[in-house]
């Protein structure tokens, strides 16, 4: 089953803890005080944005028919059929920004310094999304997909 991130917008207070733990979780040392001293500062792959009094964490939703995969000229973006996730291979990526140009949610942003797209990988390295784990109001939930 595909797991995905869900957001209970009523509970989101826009405290941006998710953004912070996302950065730390993707840093080399995985510790805030040291992470901010790393040469390549990691950008958050989730961003909270407000509209009409509600807060919306915006991040990659690992679309099944992902437009970013079609657009990728380097075959750096692929769909992992087992995990049901969009995988990005940094080694193959050439930083052309085609994926940024086609993401229907604006959930892929350019990291101009690192020349790679910033997008959610469900914290593949750590094993569980740090945003969901750390959200103080439990507004971010990582659970099995309920169907598109």
């Amino acid at each position: 089953m595909k797991k995905n991130l869900y957001f209970d917008v009523k509970k989101c207070m826009a405290c941006r803890t998710c953004e912070l733990v996302c950065c730390v979780g993707h840093s080399l040392v995985k510790e805030l005080s040291k992470a901010i001293k790393e040469k390549q500062i990691v950008l958050p792959k989730i961003k909270v944005s407000a509209n009409s009094g509600k807060n919306f964490p915006i991040t990659c939703r690992h679309c099944k028919d992902a437009r970013c995969i079609d657009a990728c000229i380097a075959r750096a973006l692929t769909f992992d059929n087992e995990k049901k996730e969009v995988i990005h291979d940094k080694e193959k990526c050439v930083g052309c920004w085609m994926c940024v140009m086609v993401c229907p949610y604006g959930a892929i942003r350019p990291d101009k310094q690192a020349r790679i797209p910033v997008r959610c990988d469900h914290c593949i390295e750590i094993g569980e999304p740090q945003c969901a784990k750390s959200c103080p109001t439990k507004a971010i939930i990582f659970k099995e997909e309920t169907g598109d």
Binding site: V9, S49, F56, D70, A71, V100, V102, P104, Y105, G106
Partner: protein, 423 residues
């Protein structure tokens, strides 16, 4: 059992194979390609020329892709004729092959102008891996290169050769580089950026002759001036590969004309990719937007229609994302306002930031982003889906613009459905 022939072996072809095989394991599939390589990332040849990536990174699929998908691969063979009546293709070695269904995915080739000396060694289009390898071998001992044409291909070539340490001069016929991709202000910004990085740009000029004894030594400008160069790259647009269809009875214009199912006027013969003149969403007319994502999407739809899915292709639009020396650029749809259009724009020349939206009757028709390209996928969607954006017009230029501001426009789509209010 059906025998499907795919002519061409690139973005459109590969994507077609994958969608056919999702539904049909039985039919025989044969791919014929003039190039002798398994499918590779054509858009990556400028990175290869620059020395940014090794050749091994060009592979689009694992080595066993064709075997896994039960595809007979005929490499290094060119289709020289297609007979609709006999449902048969003739190869350049004289061999004839019969098909039940065909997909023409032959792409395009550089449009080489008729300039004296264009055939000299060192003068090249910039389209294939072989051309790139040849260019790399010359570039290792060359000092100077000229690029004819200031479009995306020309500038990508210029960027690559500059990164290799050559002196590069780009000769542009019009008043600006990227005249098809950007408006004047955007083009000036990018032009200045390239010049600051050491690429010379000569506007309002053209080449009258290529000089050299077998090997190019210099180019001669219309003004009469000669400029030394041991490499000349021609980036003056592309032409669809349709020569072999001349007598076939398949309808062509600039490219192959298809209906909305990407089928030609001949039943069971489809076209996709750079060769296919399908529908342009913004122009509202048949047009080729020769781009990688369009080729992939068209290949998929043609493939699915080959297995009888009857899918309509909504059309393509002009679409570009590129980066030159740290400056990201996105452009889509209209670049210059037409009569009756409304323009919203903000620019900061010093910070190298430019954003421009072109609207018609409160519908987005075009977007240019330089320096800041965030959210451009949302703008693309606005154009593709043709939504009325009057309610969010004032947010477009704002730094706090995001999907949250516009999600109601698109109905309950993918990400929207992930916003759930729990009890």
């Amino acid at each position: 059992m059906k025998h499907i022939y795919i002519i061409g072996n690139s973005a459109a072809a590969i994507s077609a194979v994958e969608s056919i095989r999702l539904h049909d394991q039985e039919s025989q599939i044969t791919i014929i390609s003039e190039e002798e390589y398994p499918a590779y990332g054509r858009c990556l040849i400028s990175y290869l020329l620059a020395g940014d990536i090794p050749e091994s990174k060009l592979n689009l699929r694992p080595a066993d892709f064709y075997q896994q998908n039960k595809v007979d691969l005929l490499l290094g063979k060119k289709v020289v004729e297609l007979s609709v009546k006999k449902r048969r293709v003739t190869l350049d070695d004289g061999e004839k092959k019969e098909f039940d269904v065909a997909l023409i995915a032959t792409g395009a080739r550089p449009d080489m102008p008729e300039i004296k000396g264009i055939g000299k060694q060192g003068v090249s289009g910039f389209r294939t891996l072989n051309e790139t390898k040849e260019l790399i071998s010359i570039a290792t001992f060359a000092k100077a290169a000229c690029v004819l044409g200031g479009g995306l291909i020309g500038l990508k070539a210029a960027y690559a050769l500059k990164k290799r340490g050559l002196n590069v001069l780009v000769i542009v016929k019009s008043k600006h580089v990227l005249s098809q991709v950007l408006d004047d202000l955007g083009a000036k910004m990018v032009g200045r950026h390239l010049e600051a990085k050491g690429i010379e740009i000569l506007i309002d000029q053209d080449v009258s002759e290529i000089i050299g004894n077998g090997q190019v030594r210099a180019i001669k400008l219309l003004s009469g001036k000669a400029i030394e160069a041991s490499i000349v790259i021609v980036g003056k647009g592309v032409k669809p590969n349709i020569q072999f269809l001349k007598e076939s009875g398949i309808n062509t214009d600039f490219g192959i004309l298809t209906n909305e199912y990407l089928e030609t006027n001949v039943q069971g013969i489809f076209a996709a990719g750079d060769v296919c003149q399908s529908f342009d969403l913004v122009r509202g007319a048949a047009f080729i937007n020769a781009l990688w994502p369009n080729a992939v999407e068209q290949g998929r739809i043609a493939g699915l229609n080959i297995v009888g899915k009857n899918l309509k292709y909504i059309g393509s639009l002009s679409l570009n994302a590129v980066e030159f020396f740290g400056l990201p650029i996105v452009s889509m749809g209209l670049k210059k306002a037409e009569p009756g259009c409304e323009t919203l724009e903000a620019s900061n020349g010093k910070a190298q930031i430019y954003k421009k939206f072109i609207l018609k009757d409160n519908h987005l028709k075009g977007f240019i982003g330089i320096g800041n390209i965030k959210n451009s996928g949302i703008f693309l969607r606005m154009i593709r889906e043709g939504v009325d954006i009057s309610s969010v017009k004032n947010d477009l230029l704002s730094d706090s613009f995001s999907y949250a501001k516009v999600m109601d426009l698109f109905g309950k789509d993918g990400l929207y459905s992930n916003y759930q209010e729990q009890k």
